[in-house]
């Protein structure tokens, strides 16, 4: 079972993403702010972080920088209503940049691929 940390301030979306992602069989802790995300990440060691950008307090990109400085290897999917942050160089550090949609197919596809890729990589590292 994988741990996917969801960073999202919107309660309705927290509910939506947790429901959908849990359906994949994963554990989905939720942080409603950047600060909370950093706490949870250091405690839970998630396999993947799904990160919103526009949040009260610490914004997504800043949060990502902190998260990546804690654990550079954790893949981050930016999931935002804004398409234009994709041009921001900070967002390049993310594994994937997705624009929020009510249809979560794309997001779930990305999650699956990234986790698989990570699994393979870990396996390969172990072989060494």
């Amino acid at each position: 079972m994988k741990k996917i940390l969801l960073v999202e301030d919107e309660p309705a979306q927290q509910l939506l993403y947790r429901e959908e992602l849990s359906a994949l069989g994963d554990q989905v802790p939720v942080a409603e702010s950047g600060e909370k995300a950093l706490q949870l990440a250091s405690k839970d060691k998630p396999d993947l972080i799904i990160l919103d950008i526009m949040m009260p307090g610490m914004d997504g990109l800043e949060t990502m920088r902190e998260l990546l400085s804690q654990n550079p290897k954790v893949p981050v999917i930016i999931n935002t209503a804004y398409s234009h942050f994709k041009e921001h160089f900070m967002s390049w550090a993310a594994e994937e940049y997705l624009v929020k949609s009510s249809d979560l197919t794309e997001l779930k596809e990305a999650v699956k691929q990234i986790l698989e890729k990570k699994k393979k990589r870990v396996a390969a590292e172990r072989k060494k």
Partner: protein, 730 residues
């Protein structure tokens, strides 16, 4: 003897004393003078006039009467008195007290002795100064009058009541050549030309004369002794005698031939000026150089113009640095000349008519002279050539007998031929055409057909004309240059305008985009929640739940909303196109495939005519796809149900032309103007961003898009995109 004389005198004195007492004799002077000129007796009147005369009797008469020391020179002599018996004299005396002379009429009777000898004289004298002065002044006046008449340049003569010549002054003699003795007594009609006699001018003059008493400022003609006719100004006045009866008339004739000539000349000049003015109008009403050349050459040769027989125009060719024959006008020979000039003379009123009608005919009437002019080519470096010299020195030059009058050393050689040979004439005039800025050319004019000599007047007229022509040519050149500049400016302006339009659009889009993006993001979050939860809910429902349908509807509607947001965000922040070679046909096929079901369900037939074999353009496939998809969607919506959509491509030089035609109701023109505006829509649903996005995309591909629409027949979208040229393999 002595005694006898004294006796006689005393007898006479006695008689005189008696006479003097019997007759009142003043104002007559009566005095007796002896042969020694001594006054022996004077009457009372004389005694009262000269003081102390009574005491001085016996003194000389001249001494007593005039205080002179000698005998008066104008007095009679004793011999005269002896011979004539009586003497009458008018003596003129300058009296001491007055500057004006006094006149004395003197009547002398001899006093005779028994032997019939004159021993003295009895003198009657009367002061006639007043009447004499009047007579003198009359005489003087008459003299003056006569001298005026005689010295007058005008012919002055008098006619009797039968119009016969009574007098003839020197002026008349000069004018008509007749001496007075030849003409006096002759009828005045001698002086009339035949035609005026026939018209009975004398009757006319008589009538006017008797009506008004005079005729003046009457211009007519007269003929002199030798038959020469000339113009005169006539003044004739009735002459009456003291009783007021008409006795004749006076005639004054003034020779106005010179004045007439001057008037004629002036009129001609005025005519010339009018023509020049007309020509000027023509010259300045056109910006076509050839038209100007034509008008000028016609002006030089036309009867209404300068009346030269032929005219040749040579122009400076700056590139080749030569003076080159350009155009000519004139008949080839005398026969043709006659025909041509008659034609011109009769058919036209104004100069403009001629210029408008007459075109220099290079192959017809003017062919010969134009062949000649084409042979004139003179390098500008030949400074001592007649034509080049005239051009450079801005000087008209006259050639007589094949030689330049002003500068005889100048060459007339053109290649191996003499200019005279080429022109076929030895006498001609060259005038330069030049402006402040440049030397333009020369005009050669001659009278080869009539042989009329070229005079100063001709040359100065030609000079004037050349000046006008130069101005007109310069004007045209300036105008052309100006026009060129204007065109450039217009182009630049158009470009500027286009850029401004683009800029304004971009800015407006940016502003709209900014706002749209903000709104879109705000909306997107709740949409994601609603749509996502609806889908989630749908999954959790039992398979047979009737709620599935509702949730599906919610999800669909949300998806549509999200699409709208995507569109808004696209225009707000258009993606940078990823350019590569794109086959438009393929893109269209994909679009039509996507739309296939929708089109079929609305019963819309699609006709595809891909006429352009190579439809490769450099572009972003996704963007082009989106653009075409939008257009097809628009067409579909326009048609509604049952119709036809035609997609066509054509090759156009280096562009691919794409035409989309639908059979919809068409777009009203007021709507057509606004279709590209973002958020403008006539649809009840949709964002109104479709065409704005399409245009954005097409223009980012350096293409153009045009919409045209015919009501009830449909709408056509025409897109031009730059094509990729296939390089030919070597």
């Amino acid at each position: 003897m002595m005694v006898s004389q004294r006796q006689i005198f005393s007898e006479v004195i006695d008689i005189l004393n008696k006479f003097d007492s019997l007759f009142r004799s003043d104002p007559i002077y009566l005095f007796l003078v002896d042969k020694d000129d001594r006054i022996l007796w004077a009457n009372r009147y004389l005694l009262t006039q000269i003081p102390h005369l009574n005491d001085r009797l016996g003194e000389f008469c001249y001494k007593l009467l005039w205080s002179e020391s000698d005998k008066c020179p104008d007095c009679y002599s004793w011999e005269e008195l002896e011979a004539g018996g009586v003497c009458r004299r008018v003596l003129k005396k300058q009296s001491a007290d007055s500057s004006s002379p006094r006149y004395l009429e003197l009547l002398a009777l001899p006093v005779m002795s028994d032997q019939r000898e004159v021993v003295g004289s009895l003198n009657f004298a009367l002061d006639i100064t007043d009447s004499e002065v009047a007579r003198h002044s009359l005489q003087e006046k008459e003299q003056l009058f006569r001298s005026i008449i005689d010295s007058s340049a005008e012919a002055i003569f008098f006619l009797d009541s039968d119009d016969r010549i009574l007098s003839w002054n020197a002026g008349a003699e000069r004018l008509f050549g007749y001496a007075p003795e030849e003409i006096i007594g002759k009828p005045v009609t001698v002086l009339l030309p035949e035609d005026l006699k026939e018209l009975d001018e004398p009757a006319l003059l008589r009538e006017r004369l008797h009506q008004d008493g005079f005729v003046q400022k009457y211009e007519t003609r007269r003929v002199d002794k030798w038959g020469r006719e000339f113009f005169v100004d006539l003044t004739r006045t009735l002459v009456r005698n003291e009783a007021g009866e008409v006795v004749g008339s006076s005639v004054i004739l003034k020779d106005i031939t010179d004045q007439k000539k001057l008037e004629e000349e002036l009129r001609n000049n005025l005519l010339g000026l009018t023509k020049l003015n007309e020509l000027n109008e023509i010259l300045h009403s056109t910006y076509d150089l050839e038209e100007i050349f034509q008008a000028v050459l016609i002006a030089i040769t036309a009867g209404e113009g300068l009346r030269f027989n032929r005219a040749f125009l040579c122009l400076v060719d700056e590139e080749r640095a030569v003076l080159k024959g350009h155009l000519a006008i004139g008949p080839a020979d005398k026969n043709e000349a006659g025909q041509l000039w008659r034609e011109l003379e009769h058919s036209f009123g104004t100069f403009r008519d001629i210029v408008e009608f007459y075109r220099i005919n290079l192959t017809g009437a003017d062919a010969a002279v134009n062949r000649k002019v084409q042979r004139i080519v003179v390098p500008l470096k030949q400074k001592q050539h007649l034509l080049v010299y005239s051009l450079h020195h801005h000087q008209p030059l006259l050639v007589k007998q094949g030689r330049c009058v002003e500068e005889p050393a100048l060459s007339l050689q053109v290649d191996t031929q003499n200019l005279c040979e080429i022109l076929g004439g030895q006498n001609f005039v060259v005038v330069p055409l030049f402006s402040l800025r440049s030397d333009l050319g020369v005009v050669i004019a001659d009278n080869a057909i009539t042989g009329r000599e070229i005079n100063e007047n001709d040359i100065s007229n030609l000079k004037l004309l050349a000046h006008q022509t130069s101005l007109a040519i310069e004007n045209v050149r300036l105008y052309n240059r100006l026009e060129e500049r204007l065109r450039e400016l217009e182009k630049a302006y158009q470009k500027l305008e286009e850029n401004t339009r683009k800029l304004v659009r971009v800015e407006r889009l940016a502003a709209i985009g900014e706002m749209a993006a903000r709104v879109a993001h705000e909306i997107r979050n709740p949409l994601v929640s609603i749509g996502g939860l609806a889908r989630l809910l749908e999954k959790k429902l039992p398979a047979d739940s009737p709620l599935h349908e509702y949730l599906e509807l919610i999800s669909e509607q949300i998806s549509q909303l999200e699409n709208i947001l995507d569109n808004i965000l696209n225009i707000a922040r258009p993606k940078k196109p990823q350019m590569k070679a794109v086959n438009l046909h393929e893109v269209f096929h994909q679009v039509l495939l996507v739309m296939d079901r929708a089109l079929q369900s609305h019963n819309i037939r699609v006709r595809v005519k891909f006429d352009c074999p190579s439809s490769l353009v450099l572009g972003d496939e996704k963007l082009l796809h989106q653009a075409f998809l939008n257009l097809v969607q628009n067409s579909l919506e326009a048609i509604g149900e049952n119709g036809e959509l035609t997609v066509e491509t054509r090759c156009q030089d280096d562009q691919v032309e794409i035409l989309l035609h639908d059979t919809g109701p068409g777009i009203p023109s007021e709507v057509l103007e606004r279709v590209y505006e973002p958020f403008f829509t006539t649809k009840s649903h949709g964002t109104g961003l479709g065409l704005a996005i399409v245009r954005e995309i097409i223009e980012n591909h350096r293409g153009t898009i045009q919409l045209s629409s015919v009501p009830q027949q449909g709408t056509t979208v025409r897109i031009l995109l730059p094509a990729i040229k296939k390089r030919k393999k070597k």
